[in-house]
Symmetry: C2
Subunit: 295 residues, 2 copies
């Protein structure tokens, strides 16, 4: 089973590409919607949340987890890989296979597939737009620098994910906000949509950028890379029937209703998981309490 982890709804755009490429695999999606957005949070909080979510997905029976959230992938992927896949010390290169590697499971991110796709398409100047934390991590620039001598111009766009969460991705407000954010990106020839919410703003980005700029949604490249990896590691993930289970930390009914815009098809019933003693456990959803609360 393949796990897909995101801070909320956005990763459903990645899940959509993964299921299109791997129609007979089973997926579990975990959206940490009750604690989203991650983009402005401090690093330790992101590491805590990411550990809880990854542990939940392993407990659900996943052999392989895709960290679909660019913020987590940029900040915490290395940490998650070291903690759950290998026991090597932090001084050892994470690319060096280790005797203590747990070869029965894998955690993959979205940054490297996005960087590879951008470098393959760019004529020399790549733009990256994402959350404040994604941009301040500098991880996209680091990964692109490993692949070629391209210039990279980054822009944090803190308002775009909330705008999509609000369901306002179509219309004048989205177009104006996207225009304002991309205005400072100069003569880029390729723009990486470095947040899983942004594919829903494709029309607004296309309207705001010159036609010569390639707009790059990393999701299909993440799917292509995973499909390739599974082809080279046949048997790593047990075959399935195209089943999908969905978990979230927020309101499951709201998640199911809003998720369809991101997944492109209706979601199955959504299960609620919530933090309990530092772990995410299956729990019945507690009602939103009305009025003054006393505990």
């Amino acid at each position: 089973m393949i796990g897909v982890y995101d801070s909320g709804y956005g990763g459903l755009t990645v899940l959509r590409a993964l299921r299109a490429s791997l129609p007979t695999h089973d997926f579990v999606y975990l959206g940490d919607s009750g604690r989203a957005p991650y983009g402005g949070r401090d690093t330790d909080t992101i590491l805590d949340f990411a550990e809880q979510c990854v542990e939940r997905l392993f407990e659900e029976g996943c052999e392989l987890i895709v960290v679909a959230c660019h913020t987590v992938s940029c900040v915490a992927l290395r940490h998650l890989q070291r903690r759950y896949i290998t026991n090597v010390s932090r001084d050892t290169s994470p690319d060096t296979p280790s005797d203590t590697s747990d070869v029965s499971r894998r955690i993959l991110g979205v940054t490297i597939p996005a960087a590879e796709a951008a470098v393959a398409r760019s004529r020399g100047h790549i733009g990256v737009i994402g959350t404040a934390r994604t941009v301040s991590s500098g991880t996209f620039a680091t990964e692109i620098a490993k692949l070629g001598p391209h210039r990279v111009t980054q822009r944090a766009a803190p308002l775009l994910a909330p705008l999509v969460e609000e369901g306002w991705e179509d219309g004048e407000i989205a177009r104006l906000a996207v225009s304002r954010y991309v205005a400072g990106l100069g003569d880029i020839d390729t723009l990486v949509l470095g947040c899983t919410h942004y594919p829903l703003l494709t029309d607004a980005f296309a309207a705001a950028l010159p036609p010569s700029v390639t707009l790059l949604d990393p999701a299909p490249f993440v799917a292509a890379r995973l499909t390739d990896w599974l082809g080279r590691h046949s048997g790593f993930v047990a075959p399935g029937t195209g089943a999908l289970r969905v978990l979230c930390t927020g309101d499951p009914e709201r998640f199911r209703a809003h998720g369809e815009r991101f997944l492109g098809e209706p979601l199955p019933a959504v299960s609620h998981v919530a933090e309990e003693g530092g772990r995410l456990a299956h729990k019945a959803r507690v009602e939103v309490r009305v009025g003054q609360v006393v505990r």
Copy 2:
């Protein structure tokens, strides 16, 4: 000393009104900017954060704390008052004086002054706009119902506080977003700005509403009520010199730079406080970590 607590920058608009009314009092402002926004968070998290912030302000020497954040005031004020001011059980009315009351300190909110001001001005139909949590609490409607038979129409506007945080309160995006949110408010005659960020959007609200609608920023009414209370309880708060100290949980340099738009004057140096074992303690700001983080 008077403490003012808010989830971030917004409460500086309340502090501005308080300092204008009480120029010789000393204030400590605590903005929980590192954990903002509160508006979409679950109730227990809001209670945890509010306890930590109130405890920090009492430790700073405050005799009286104004909870400037409408989300906290709507959800957690009663809890804070019971926990820190009285030891009465939750079955006792909080308005009943108790032998176990700690009469040396007080915690006041912003909801009741706002409700009183709205009822005094409205001809019968009051609109309230605020965060998702403020609206789902129903506290404004409850407090207004205690004062008169007015109709109340509420609207959650999750995008407006992030929009102001981004510094985009002037211009077309703000005007369009505000218009979209107020469109469903019907024939209201008074609109309560139920979030401390919204006074910065006054121009956008004025442009979106008919001139017959009274736009109500609760801040001056909160200040008038506190001034009146202090007049009736002279000696409760030790007199001062108009000094101001500012604490925040996020980046103190950023807080100082952005806070001026909310306070209407430059902020003094901002001290950093951070969570440590469930308490907020003074701590040197940790640098934002770049790249992949391993711990």
